[in-house]
Structures are given as C-alpha cells and as structure tokens.
C-alpha cells in the first residue's frame, strides 16, 4: 500500500479546499454531498454528536450561517493506498465573541460514487476564564503577566467567597450616598 501517493494527496487536497469553501459559504448541498450518505456516517461537532447522514443534514440546515469564517493552519493529509485518507487541521474562529482555537479530523473513503467523509470530529481547545473574559473586553494579557493575573483572580475569588455567600434580599440596592 502506498502512503501519500502524490496524485492521491492532490485529490484529497482539492476536496479539502472544496469542503472549506462550502463550510464558510454555508453551501449545505455541497457539504451534504461530501459526507457519506449512510446511517453509519458520523460527525462529532463542537457541541453536537450526530449519528447518520440524516442527523448531519438536519444540523446543517438548522445552523445559523454566521461567524463560519475560520483561519485554517497545520493542515495534515495522509493517504493510504488510493481509497483511504485522513485530513486534520487546526483552526481559529470567533465563537460567542471569543477567538477560539479548534481542531478537526476527517476520515475519507473513496466509494464507487467518489470520495466521502465517513467520520469527522471538531472540537475547541479548552479556554480559561481569564482568556475568555479578556477576549470579551478586547484585552490581550501579556504572557509574562498571565500567571500573576491568574493567581490574582483566584485570590480575588477566595476573598469574594464569604461576601458572595451573604444573601442579599431583593429590596437592597446599591448605596452611593451617605447620610448620618
């Protein structure tokens, strides 16, 4: 079996580019076409576990077509013979106002009708509270301060704990002005 036959790699690269264009353009027909039309097709998304072509297709149709742009890097293609391949990428995209780092793996198989994705998995790498909150206010924590800031937030949480445990009734509003 030939690993990474250049001709096969070129084929898969073209399909990967086709898939990315369809994803960013929310071309649902194309996306559905690129997935294996089988109840055994699988797609684990960031938040959804989809079993079978019908579930995958339904998810695509219900998905709001916003913020789909992503920056792809570290593309990896490995082909096995002329009918099996894996495609892996890392990507960055905005999600809920935060720039997230994610990864995607696809398994491609060539059927008589052409190459199809038979299994895919997309995930975001976990992000800390500090990173998420900083991103929401457009703040970049310099690397040399990150650990200090993280500790500071942790210490603040310890300090705040007894205060937050103190229950305030709904009638209590902030006191700004002081009278005798």
């Amino acid at each position: 079996m030939v690993i990474n036959d250049p001709a096969v790699v070129r084929e898969i690269l073209a399909l990967h580019q086709e898939y990315e264009a369809a994803l960013v353009g929310n071309d649902i027909a194309k996306l559905t076409e690129l997935f294996w039309d089988s109840s055994q097709a699988l797609r684990f998304g960031v938040g959804e576990s989809l079993y079978g072509a019908a579930e995958i297709d339904a998810f695509r149709k219900a998905r709001p077509a916003i913020n789909l742009e992503r920056e792809v890097f570290n593309l990896g293609i490995v082909t096995f013979g002329s009918s099996h391949a894996t495609v892996t990428i890392e990507f960055k995209r905005m999600a809920s106002g935060i720039l997230r780092h994610g990864r995607q793996s696809q398994v491609w198989v060539k059927f008589p009708e052409g190459w199809k994705i038979v299994s895919a998995h997309v995930s975001f790498t976990p992000t800390s509270y500090m990173e998420s909150a900083a991103s929401l206010i457009g703040l970049q924590i310099p690397a040399e301060y990150a650990e200090g800031v993280r500790q500071n937030i942790e210490r603040s949480a310890q300090i705040a704990a007894p205060l937050l445990a103190y229950s305030l009734s709904e009638e209590i509003e902030s006191a700004q002005v002081f009278r005798p």
Binding site: I159, A160, S174
Partner: protein, 446 residues
Amino acid sequence: MLATLEAIQRHDAQLNCFTKVLETEALAEADAIDARIAAGEDVGPLAGVPFAVKNLFDIAGVTTIAGSKIHATSPPAQQDAAVVQRLKAAGANLVGALNMDEYAYGFTTENTHYGPTRNPHDLDRVAGGSSGGSAAAVAAGMLPLTLGSDTNGSIRVPAALCGIYGLKPTYGRISRAGAYLFAESFDHVGPFARSVRDIAVAFDVLHGPDPRDPVASDRPAEPVSPQLERGAEGLRIAVADGYFSHGGMPEVFEAVQKAAQALDANEAVTIPDVEKARAAAYIITACEGGNLHLEDLRTRPQDFDPVVVERFLAGTLLPASWHSHAQRFRRVFQAKLREVFRHVDVILAPTTPCPAIRIGQPTITIDGKEVPSRPNMGYYTQPLSFIGLPVLSVPIFAPGSLPVGVQLIGAPYNEALLLRVARQLERMGVASAPIKVPSPAAEAVR
C-alpha cells in the same frame, strides 16, 4: 518660603517625597502674598502657609502623573484641582507635587518609576501609601500641610507610619474635582498635618459643596475650628473589638489602649461583618480601578508599574455579579453602622496592623503567622472607607519605637467630633507629631 525650599533641598534627596518642586512659582507667590499683607489686605487663614499635593491632583501648567510613567507625557493640567484652588484662595502657597504608588494602587509608595519614598523615622522603611510623599514631607518638617487621597487607607496608613495626623473626611465632603481617581466609589481627598488645629483649619477651608465633583455632598460647610477646644466632654467613645482587636502586632493595640485610657473610654463596641466589608471593598476597588485603565492595559501594559499591573489586569476580568453584590452589600453594612452609631459617637481602632515595614519587605508576622505585608497594611482602614465614614488617624509614639496610628471613626459628617477628641489627646500629650529630621548619618550607614 526660602526656609521651606531649603528644607526640601536638604532632605528630599534622602526621602524622595517630591516629584516636582515649583520653586520659581512659590517664591513669586510668596512675594505677592507679602505685598498683599503690606497693603493691608486680608489674605486668608492660611496666609503664606507652604503646602504640596500628591501628584494626582491637577496643578495648572503641570502634568498630573498620578505616580505613572504613562501619564508623564500627558499635556499639563489646564486648571488647579478644586482643593488646590481652595487652599490658594485661603492664602496658602503651593510648593510642589508628591510621590505616590502608581495610580494609588498600593499602601507603601514603593514606586518603580520614581523610587520609594522613605520614612523620616527610619530611612530603610516605607512611608506608607499610597500618599507616602504627602505624609513623609510633613513628618520631616519640610511642610506643615499636604494633601493626599484615600480610597482604602491611602491617607490614614502613611499618616500612621510617619507619625502625623491624616484626615479622611466623609465621602463627598471634600471635592475631588481635578484629582485623578482610582476607584470612584471610595475615592476621598484630605489633609495631612502635625497638629489637630492645622487639620481643622485645612478642613474648614477644603470642605463644602462643589458642582465640579459629581459626588460632592450638598451639605453646607460646618466649620470645625471653633469647636476644637470643646474636647471629648460628653462624647460616647468606645474601642472597636472583634476584627479590630485581632490581626495586628501588640504595639498597635497598646496605642489604642493608651488613647482609650486617656479618654476614659471603657466601653467596647462590635462592628459587625467587617470581613465582608473588606472583601467587598477589595472587589469594587479591583473592578473600578481596572476599568479606569482598560484602554492603557489593552495598548501598553508594559508601561505600568510591574507591582500594580497584574492587579489592574485581573480587576478588568472579575465578574460583574461580584461588583454588584459588593455594591449592594454597602447598603447593608451602612445600615449596621448606623445602628452602631446610635450608641456611640467616636470609635477607636488601630490604623495599621504594624509600624512601618522595611522597604521591599514582603511579609509581616502576626500572631505567629506570616502574611503578605503590602495588602495587609489596609486591614483596618479598608472596611471603613468602604462606606465613606470620616476617620482621623492620630499619631501615637511609644518611647524608642516607631510611630503607629489610632483611627478615630465617626458617623458621616461628624468630622468635628473626631477633631475634638484628637485635640483632647493632643492636649494630654497622648497624641503628638514631632518633626523627625532624617539624620545624614543614617544615610551614610545605609
């Protein structure tokens, strides 16, 4: 004025109080005041009194740096801060601007950009902060009067560590217009001096409504100077127990006892929920301080003082729920204190948990436990500014040791009572603020 400038010349190389000396302006103003006096004019209750201000107050023609490098390149202020205007209008003569922790976020005035301010009583020790330059300049006798600001203790702490009087008035009672803010919910401004009368005269000139400050109280000014000699007679004075009788070194409690005995204050009073008040003050300070500097934290975090930048960065990220909860808790704590003040007029408590620490000293040992020194300097002050209570720190000296402070705490707008009690302590010789000229020998040894 020449004598003042000479004293600054002589001592400030050792103490590092001043970030700006307005020599030419002060000499010209002195001549102008002399001329007005010669012409028979009334130049005011502070005629010719030299004063200086923490460098977060606007001085027309001078850049307000607020202890930072970032603001050092800002254009000069267009007009004087309200408090500078008021002191000048009363005849006082502005001599310069004084060192502080960057953006007032500290209790020790160990400023990385401008160097630490040293304590005149021991040059190896901090002056306290954040208004360290303001306190040390008065303690060393360079000036009789300075101004500082107090968010969580920044007037009271350095006053205590330098052995002088420092008044944090009721929130909103002295205008903050033209003062660079830190955490607006608690920012106060007030005077430092070596006598109760000087504090009283300054307070009388400084306090009262000001449309330029959105949180200034409308309450008319009530002169306290005429009431000073009434003493503590008839006042209910008690010592704060619980939180305020733990967590400090023995000498600070001895100072409180000394003051209490002199005043025949045998009662103790418990202020409830003080730990929560301190926590809430901490959260609000972090959030408001961080937000105030958000733009610079985004674009030039490397230009902040490294000792404060991580706290500011963290402050921008704390949950809004914490801030709201802390703000609402102020109402609860205020109601509890109002109840306390139905039974007592003036409360005594230590100002700091210990005398001045050494410059660079990271920890202090309290009750056999090692705790971080810098945040703990505000242990007793922070819960009180939290709800804007007026507090005067009075200096107490034990023979052969460093000074400590006792806080006289009153209900809102009761500055007069605090000053009367302080005057009584001063008359009895319990409170005193002797000038401490730093000795050149100490410099040589160091």
